[in-house]
Symmetry: C2
Subunit: 302 residues, 2 copies
Amino acid sequence: MHFAARLNAAIARTGSIACVGLDPRKASLPAPIRDAVRGDQPDAWAAAYTQFCTEIIDVVADLVPCVKPQAAFFEQLGPAGMIGLGEVIRHASAAGLMVIVDGKRNDIGSTATAYADAYLGSGTNGSPASPWGGDALTVSPYLGRDSLEPFVEVCTARRAGIYVLVKTSNPGGGFLQDQQSDGKPIYRSVADLVTELNRPLLDQRGYGPVGAVVGATYPEQLAELRQAMPHSMLLVPGFGAQGGSADDVRPARDAAGFGAVVNSSRQIIFAHSRAEFAERLGDARWQDAVREATLQMNQQLA
Amino acid sequence: MHFAARLNAAIARTGSIACVGLDPRKASLPAPIRDAVRGDQPDAWAAAYTQFCTEIIDVVADLVPCVKPQAAFFEQLGPAGMIGLGEVIRHASAAGLMVIVDGKRNDIGSTATAYADAYLGSGTNGSPASPWGGDALTVSPYLGRDSLEPFVEVCTARRAGIYVLVKTSNPGGGFLQDQQSDGKPIYRSVADLVTELNRPLLDQRGYGPVGAVVGATYPEQLAELRQAMPHSMLLVPGFGAQGGSADDVRPARDAAGFGAVVNSSRQIIFAHSRAEFAERLGDARWQDAVREATLQMNQQLA
């Protein structure tokens, strides 16, 4: 099965549209993981990040359809971190989770193909495996159509997906994305391109490999963009810590309840620091805090 | 010295504004490098890429101010490639070359900082070294101002630079970049933001750490954007193989001949395949072809 069909099947299987963002940060790791790091070498931290993320995966694998590792935090550690990123992705795939690599890569022609080759293709379902083994990758559209097409080609060959940045959740996102041109905002032009790229590649449920990132912090635009991109799986950041509520993300799903996942990172993976879990579970039982926070998010989104 | 000052000093020292793009590709490697690869494992190819790029660096180090490794081609090989990228960058730094990492990274807040931490900072001139050790990094502006500011902060701390994608050389670049909004094209809005970010951070020659990518394939816009971003080092792709001529890139320099580098990748690094060098030098003397092609480019740009 292709990416969108597999992700929708995972949503059906788990009854959840939550995506757990794997954003490891040194300062926020629970004490049992952080205190075990000897010295300050990248290898030691990469091992800590890998252990932290694989334990989270084990805790949430039956609860959610997918995880989203943030490449930047692994890259921050250098090559040792990038090796860890691969281990985390393979662990998630083996646990039955879909993996969206958040790398926001972008380039043109054969350079874009090189990025796609690196990250797209989990090796499951008969598709060739890529070095990092993701099911999908986030990509940036500033370079235009010829920067997206090479990714779409690799998606087709490897049954993978991309999520194009369309309307992001950050305060500064409007600077470019909301500018009006020809009577519509830039984000809408990107959305229309996404729909055009998808159209020849739809699965039985009507979804193609070209997804879109649309932030939870702009619920009106989320509803508009759900309409404008009927064939796109949506990835909705900005839930929880960034201010988006369950009501805000409701428009992301299609009528049957599919077609979108809502990401939460800090509120899940660092749940041990949240007031409601800190005292009762704390750092020692951080995995239980992750599980409870995930169940809570599922309930909020249900 | 800060990034712009160091790059302008390197331009003065070499009398060249050429930047050699390090874009290794399996199929294009000269036979002596390609034939030495045993098997098809990423490690073997990563070693070949590293050898190829370090030999190029040795050949061009006295002729040009900088090199621009393309991260995507190293990432395509997986973690082994990323280790190779670090080796190539350190070799270039040791040879006295400035290194612009072409990674087109982008994200917001602490995630953007993580990318900056990974790539910015060569450890020369008293600045802390980063895992990959670049002097500058290309970044994409779609996420807006709060996606650029974290990079600028790290630039300041590490005497490094960024090159923001403003007007790219590819045919599809106009899709977003040329859209008119508020009476000016989007690329001009990005240019104005670049200038604003630079203004408090200027060196004695009037340059700041926030450079810009402006393609050689649009000479009129290049002249316009040189004016609009008087404090930005420009990185001009699209020369040679993509069609930009020496006349086209002339507007990129400031009145004193500084403030810009012009990139060429394939025409330099794969010069052994060009008709004018293939017969006389061929694969066996590919390093001589690289040197002659670089001298030729310097002459064209002089």
